[in-house]
């Protein structure tokens, strides 16, 4: 295992993050505040409680997930697409590193950035609403697993993308709708029965449900199922990435 290479890739990627730290920090703070103003104050004043939880607090896990998932995908996809775009990717191919080391470096950095933003949002949210976390370790586990798995997905998107438009395509057309319709801002039990069933095909539901359980012990689906879903998704992404490097798909002629 070439650990020095893993750390080098990780540091190099994090340097990009630190160069734009102000943007990385203020943008989630601002967007979270806006969400609280709109959803918490405007809508929250009409929906007093959801499953016995104040609406403002209820949306916090979904809000964190929304940003974390989007950030993980965009950081990881851009992180690997940019070297491909400017041509420095060939350096990785000619270095004594294997696919696992490359993935650990890039995905590790993207997940760290997403985690940082998740924590920033959590702290910002706690300034607006009263937050209690029933299971802090489970909360952290769900957060870290989400950061990792969606960074893996972002890595795949970055390898697949042939241009900047494609880079935005999956996050915009697939991920954002899935997250919005995955119970970020409402409980599935609030939907008509037929939509409750359809919603269960949305994988993001399991993530948000599990994450919300860690906060309020209130879940749409059993926690075990949530963990299984995120574990399965992580394994699936890893499998795809292993196949990409084995076949050289989109990376090696």
């Amino acid at each position: 295992m070439n650990w020095v290479a893993v750390i080098s890739i990780y540091r190099f990627e994090m340097a990009r993050f630190f160069r734009t730290l102000a943007q990385s920090f203020f943008s989630p703070v601002l967007s979270t505040s806006l969400y609280f103003v709109v959803f918490g104050a405007a809508i929250g004043s009409r929906i007093q409680e959801v499953d016995g939880i104040a609406y403002g607090a209820f949306i916090v896990p979904g809000l964190i997930m929304l940003s974390v998932i989007t950030q993980a995908i965009s950081n990881a996809s851009f992180g690997i697409y940019f070297p491909k775009f400017i041509g420095t990717f060939s350096e990785l191919l000619s270095a004594p590193v294997n696919f696992l080391e490359i993935v650990m470096g890039y995905v590790g950095a993207a997940a760290t950035k997403a985690l940082f933003i998740g924590v920033v949002i959590l702290v910002t949210a706690s300034l607006f609403v009263d937050l209690t976390i029933a299971h802090p370790f489970a909360m952290l586990l769900f957060l870290v697993l989400t950061c990792l798995s969606f960074s893996l997905l972002g890595f795949i998107i970055g390898i697949w993308a042939g241009n900047f438009e494609q880079l935005q395509l999956v996050p915009l057309l697939v991920v954002t709708p899935l997250v919005f319709l995955g119970g970020s801002f409402y409980s599935i039990s609030m939907l008509p029965p037929i939509w409750q069933t359809i919603t269960l095909f949305n994988p993001v539901v399991y993530l948000i449900s599990g994450f919300r359980w860690a906060f309020f012990e209130n879940a749409d689906v059993p926690v075990g199922l949530s963990l299984l879903a995120i574990g399965g998704f992580t394994a699936f992404c890893l499998g795809v990435i292993w196949w990409i490097f084995k076949t050289g798909w989109r990376i090696r002629a």
Binding site: N2, W3, V4, A5, I7, S8, I9, R11, F12, A15, R16, R19, F82, P83, I86, G87, T88, S90, E91, L92, L93, S94, A95, P96, V97, G248, R252, A253
Partner: protein
């Protein structure tokens, strides 16, 4: 000397069906400078990219320092530094971070003194903290070399190192290459500047259409292939080669002012003395005499056009 890099029957067919390499076999000796000459699309870059792991070979084997490049890729790649043809660098990073990253990728621990020494040799030390985007084209090219040298490779590939570089900088680059050779680095460079190969290479390989036409010691190639021409300038122009000189296979210059005699420098008798005597006897008055040796470029053009080596 032992071969540090051995390529056997290497073939590469791209997905579209294009055969970029049609069975290349090549041994590179430790410490030498080999220049790979070839026109655009000859397969030079594909050959280098395949050895370095950027392109997967379709068939054949590559051994680097005794390590199979496919099976034992870590050991094989650790010995190689690659300076790519295109300037591919992260524009917002500093020179220092860029080369530290390259060293790290090869699994080597931080060594500031060594990296500073590399930058010093490439006259880049004062640009250490500059961002790549602030550098000139020539400096960026040196950063590419610094990246390739950051892990002390024993073999260095230079893919068209002086393409688009001005004459002065090209000479500087040649000095850098000479310095690396003195440090014991084996160098393989591709170029289409024949003068570059002529100036710095020990051996020359000519590649065209995915096939290696020849690999030969530069001096012996020049001597073997090199013809010399003697141009006899006449004080009075003539309409045709005089009959008395017809057995010399002379060519008449366009304006009839000169006779051109080609001869082999390695022949026991070049025939120059006899020719000059006969020219005088034929009643021609010499204005001047000059000789010209064919360059590697002439040899190269002859080879890729299909002349037998």
């Amino acid at each position: 000397m032992a071969a540090i890099l051995s390529v056997k029957d290497l073939k590469k067919t791209y997905a579209g069906g294009f055969e970029a390499l049609k069975g290349v076999t090549l041994d590179i000796e430790e410490g030498e400078i080999l220049a790979l000459l070839g026109p655009n699309g000859a397969g030079k870059t594909t050959l280098i990219s395949t050895v370095c792991g950027i392109v997967s070979p379709s068939a054949g084997s590559i051994t680097v320092g005794g390590h199979d490049a496919q099976v034992d890729y870590r050991a094989a790649r650790s010995l190689i530094g690659l300076v790519p043809q295109e300037i591919h660098l992260e524009p917002f990073e500093t020179v220092w971070n860029t080369i530290r990253f390259s060293r790290g990728l090869f699994g080597l621990r931080r060594d500031d003194a060594y990296l500073e020494d590399v930058l010093r040799k490439l006259s880049l030390l004062d640009k250490k903290n500059s961002r790549i985007m602030e550098l000139s084209g020539g400096m960026k090219r040196r950063v590419l070399i610094a990246k390739a040298l950051s892990h002390s490779p024993r073999i260095l590939f230079l893919d068209e190192p002086t393409a688009g570089v001005d004459v002065e900088l090209r000479k500087d680059m040649w000095e850098v290459v000479a310095q690396m050779k003195a440090d014991g680095v084996t160098i393989i460079l591709t170029t289409h500047y024949i003068e570059e190969a002529e100036a710095i290479a020990d051996r020359v390989g000519v590649i065209t259409g995915g096939e290696l036409l020849l690999v030969e010691d530069k001096d012996s190639l020049m001597a073997r292939m090199g013809q010399k021409q003697l141009e006899v300038q006449l004080s009075t122009a003539v309409d045709a080669v005089p009959a008395a000189l017809s057995h010399y296979s002379l060519q008449l210059a366009k304006d009839g002012n000169a006779l051109v005699y080609s001869y082999d420098t390695r022949a026991d008798r070049t025939g120059i003395t006899a020719l000059l005597n006969d020219v005088a006897e034929a009643g021609l008055v010499l204005a001047d005499v000059q000789t010209r040796q064919s360059s590697l470029e002439d040899i190269f053009v002859g080879l890729v056009k299909g002349d037998q080596p």
